[in-house]
Symmetry: C2
Subunit: 205 residues, 2 copies
DNA sequence: TGTAACATACCGACCAGTTGGTATGTTAAT
DNA sequence: ATTAACATACCAACTGGTCGGTATGTTACA
């Protein structure tokens, strides 16, 4: 008997996530998954009661990693400056650097993949995704509020939609980068967001 | 015999587009399509040699409509001002208004849907999508170049990525609006882009 | 003008292959 | 001896696609 059943589980989930990002959930078969994972059908249904459950556990894992990634990067940025504006600008730059350091094409976002086929999923799965996106909104909005206090914006601006804009830039640039097959556009768009914030809250030149 | 076979064809394509935007291409069956379209399987395969051909004709039609929509809105904006910056700002505002006038949830973008399942399609289908996106880049970039000549930007900026940013904002806000079930976020994000351009090229206050 | 020859538009039963899922093993560690 | 962790064989439902057939056109020519 396998000493490490968790590794089989992980193999299945990793294979599934990779295939789903290429073909979508509806275009992915469990045969595809078990072939790529190198496990039997029995192993698959031993670990997951259905394809749908796999789908749910996948987003849950993805959401957890996403939240962790967000918090970690935020803490890192906060450690590098005391000024909220600088923290936010560093925060964005950290993501830019991360993208630039990728050698392979960016694999895409599982949230976006699911949302493009939302009728295939239970509402609770869509809830997980929405909560994940709202976490970004909350974290960035908090920071923007602090920025606003210390740096009066050059123009009136809706902070909530400005916070949402980061997620929008991410998701939008993922789509464009997928089409053009260029990771660079993601970093460039983050840079545009960076530049926008500097113009809004930065000092006059 | 049907006097208007084109209407059957259109019924099939409209049904298919609508379902694909909800379930993705891979999650859509021809049974789904013919049921919603109210036609027989025979009729389907009389008009389309395969599901894949339907998929191709669908993007082609979508790309044509998209290009037409782009050019039309651009001409309209150009008719409302002589200043390239104002034309661009009006251009964006026209899209904002269009979104705001929708009463139903925005149905999503077929390009993004296909790109999220790119492995399901021939390269030539992905080419159609890429060309459509590059048309937006070209048209907006042309305008930005004229703006730059008359309005020196407040910050150094890469015009090409600034042009891409419109498509990025569209696609990204489609994703977020799908998750939050709020069309409003699309208009808000367009407004952010509008604001960014004003800050970049607009007069000092 | 009538009609033979043919084309178009469509129907729905049917097919082979695939799908997600199950039933029944086998193996090995506790 | 029990049970977790698989493997294999299998199943019914569904998949995209084909088929023979029919109803309604259009065209050409006697």
């Amino acid at each position: 008997m396998n000493k490490d059943p968790e590794s089989t589980r992980t193999k299945i989930m990793n294979a599934a996530e990779s295939i789903i990002l290429d073909k979508g959930f509806g275009g992915t078969t469990v045969s595809n998954v078990i072939e790529q994972a190198g496990v039997s059908k029995g192993a698959f249904f031993h670990h997951f009661s259905s394809k749908a459950e796999l789908g749910e556990e996948l987003v849950q894992r993805y959401a957890d990693q996403d939240a962790e990634h967000l918090e970690q990067t935020l803490r890192k940025a906060e450690g590098l400056s005391d000024d909220p504006l600088q923290q936010m600008l560093i925060f964005i730059k950290l993501f830019e650097q991360e993208i630039e350091s990728l050698e392979k094409p960016f694999p895409g976002c599982l949230f976006a993949s699911y949302l493009q086929q939302s009728e295939l999923f239970d509402p609770n799965i869509l809830d997980i995704i929405r909560e994940s996106m709202l976490l970004w909104r909350t974290r960035v909005l908090d920071k923007l509020k602090k920025i606003e206090q210390e740096h009066p914006p050059r123009r009136d601006v809706d902070l909530e939609s400005l916070a949402d804009m980061l997620m929008v830039i991410f998701e939008g640039s993922f789509v464009l980068s997928q089409s053009l097959n260029e990771n660079r556009v993601i970093a460039q768009q983050l840079s545009n967001y960076h530049s926008y914030l500097k113009l809004l809250f930065g000092p006059d030149k």
